[in-house]
């Protein structure tokens, strides 16, 4: 390439500086514009997001597999070092659980009999979709993960995502072959829950920390550390009775819940397909109603 002569530089640099300043302003303005669009028109943002995520998920799927294998090997090595101690504690736990199994069988039978007596409406059936966690954006602002199943696998918006230990989050966005799970700890997460054996109703709200907070507890509710928190099923988004965690702190910083889920080892998630139309369909229903009204007007 030709080297610019001195006079060219003198003319070009103010022009160039002006152009680059203009470009900076333009692009910062565009970023603010995108922020506004994100607030006002979530549909477009969501469509774009799922499209991009769909493109990236196959890559993440491949890349995350060796990481999983490696972490599996590490876990195994760790497990080997405390094999006998673990065996001992598992034997004790097994003995305890066998007793619980007997109790559960008895309660199940009793429950079925009582339901039968009261002609109670049975809960809708549950179907599970098992998927792998392929992406974890991390960072300070969101608590979400990406899974490698989407619409074509039957994943729908609003479904609960669980691990063996308990509820992990809910499906927030769905693409063709990927979906984004909003974890319980995310600042946007709100889950209607039931606390303790008194079955007090509350809302569990995430704040990006590891321990979500319980809100809107009734004035008579007495919550103490160690109380179990489960989904209440209110709003019809989650099936009732999914285990979430235990109350870990009651004090100045509010009532905090420690979820059962082991966030670091969350490699596989099960999506619960609970055949029920919840409040999250509200937008779709309103949209359909509006479309119908518009069609009526045209005629």
């Amino acid at each position: 390439m030709n080297k610019p002569t001195g006079s060219e530089i003198r003319v070009a640099s103010p022009l160039k500086a002006w152009a680059s300043r203009f470009a900076l302003l333009l692009l910062v303005g565009a970023a603010f514009g995108l922020m506004l669009i994100g607030r006002t028109n979530t549909f477009i943002v969501e469509e774009t997001r799922t499209a991009v995520t769909d493109m990236v998920t196959p890559i993440l799927d491949v890349v995350s597999q060796p990481v999983d294998t490696f972490s599996g090997v590490l876990d195994q090595a760790e497990a080997f070092t405390r094999l006998s101690a673990e065996n001992q504690s598992l034997k004790e736990q097994n003995a305890r659980l066998l007793q619980w199994q007997a109790v559960a069988h008895r309660l199940e039978a009793e429950n079925a009999a009582l339901r039968n007596l009261n002609n109670m409406v049975p809960d809708p059936a549950m179907r599970y979709i098992t998927t792998r966690v392929v992406g974890d954006p991390g960072g300070a602002f969101v608590r979400t993960v990406l899974i490698n199943a989407g619409e074509r696998n039957g994943v729908e918006k609003g479904q609960a995502a669980i691990t063996g230990e308990g509820l992990a989050g809910r499906v927030a966005e769905v693409g063709q072959r990927s979906a984004r799970i909003l974890l319980l700890t995310d600042i946007n997460s709100r889950v209607p829950v039931i606390v303790g054996s008194a079955r007090d109703r509350a809302v569990m709200a995430g704040d990006n920390s590891n321990a979500p907070e319980l809100l809107y507890l009734g004035p008579t509710a007495k919550v103490k550390v160690g109380d179990r928190v489960t989904t209440s099923g209110h709003g019809g988004v989650f099936p009732p009775g999914l285990p979430i965690g235990v109350v870990s702190a009651v004090g100045e910083k509010g009532i905090r819940v420690k979820p059962f889920v082991d966030w670091a080892h969350m490699e596989v998630l099960r999506i619960v397909d609970y055949e029920m139309t919840g409040i999250l369909d509200f937008e779709a229903q309103v949209g359909a109603a509006r479309a119908a009204a518009a069609a009526g007007n045209e005629q």
Binding site: S20, A23, L24, L27, V28, A30, A31, F32, L34, M35, I37, G38, R39, V45, T48, R49, V52, T53, V56, I59, L60, V63, S64, V67, D68, S71, V133, V134, G135, D136, P137, G138, G139, A140, F141, V142, R143, T144, V145, L146, A172, E173, R180, I187, N188, D207, N208, S209, N210, W263, A264, H265, E267
Partner: protein, 171 residues
């Protein structure tokens, strides 16, 4: 034969000139891979910020402002946060480097690292502020602070790799 060489040469040039952009995009993807390490997820280093800063300092011609915008856009889309704050953060980092480009011309590695401390602090602070405004909630900044420290610690490793790569290319 001659023409073919010319074509390969041109392809080579194109590949070299877009590699910073692609490598930084790759870093955005890489930061999404779940590492399965306890409590690491909230403080993963801001790899894209390192990439944008490094090439804005060393090859500003290969890291134009629109590329920074695109990288920020893809990053915000993929992390699932509000779209915008991350873009502005990267643009701020880029603008600061371009503004002080004379300073970086003769700077040693340690000095550049120190400059990165300031630039990264500014970029992350802007991102945090805009995020808070966008969701109208106070987001606890302590994980961000640790993320900042981890990013600072990661800078020399990545910069070393980038420099090695650059030398390999130039040979």
């Amino acid at each position: 034969m001659r023409q073919e060489e010319g074509l390969w040469h041109r392809l080579d040039l194109v590949a070299r000139s877009i590699s910073p952009f692609f490598v930084t995009m790759l870093l955005v993807l890489l930061s999404l891979v779940p590492l399965r390490i306890a409590d690491l997820s909230p403080i993963v280093p801001a790899l894209a910020l390192i990439g944008v800063f490094f090439w804005s300092v060393h090859r500003p011609d290969l890291m134009p402002i629109w590329a920074v915008f695109l990288i920020g856009l893809v990053q915000d889309i993929l992390t699932g946060s509000v779209i915008g704050p991350g873009i502005v953060g990267l643009l701020v980092a880029h603008a600061l480097v371009v503004w002080q480009h004379r300073f970086f011309l003769a700077a040693s590695f340690a000095v550049i690292w120190c400059a990165f401390m300031l630039v990264a602090a500014a970029a992350l602070a802007v991102t945090w502020l805009l995020n808070c405004i966008a969701i109208l909630t106070y987001v606890e900044p302590s994980p961000l602070f640790f993320q900042y420290l981890v990013t600072l610690a990661f800078y020399p490793c990545l910069a070393w790799a980038f420099l090695r790569g650059q030398r390999l290319f130039q040979r």
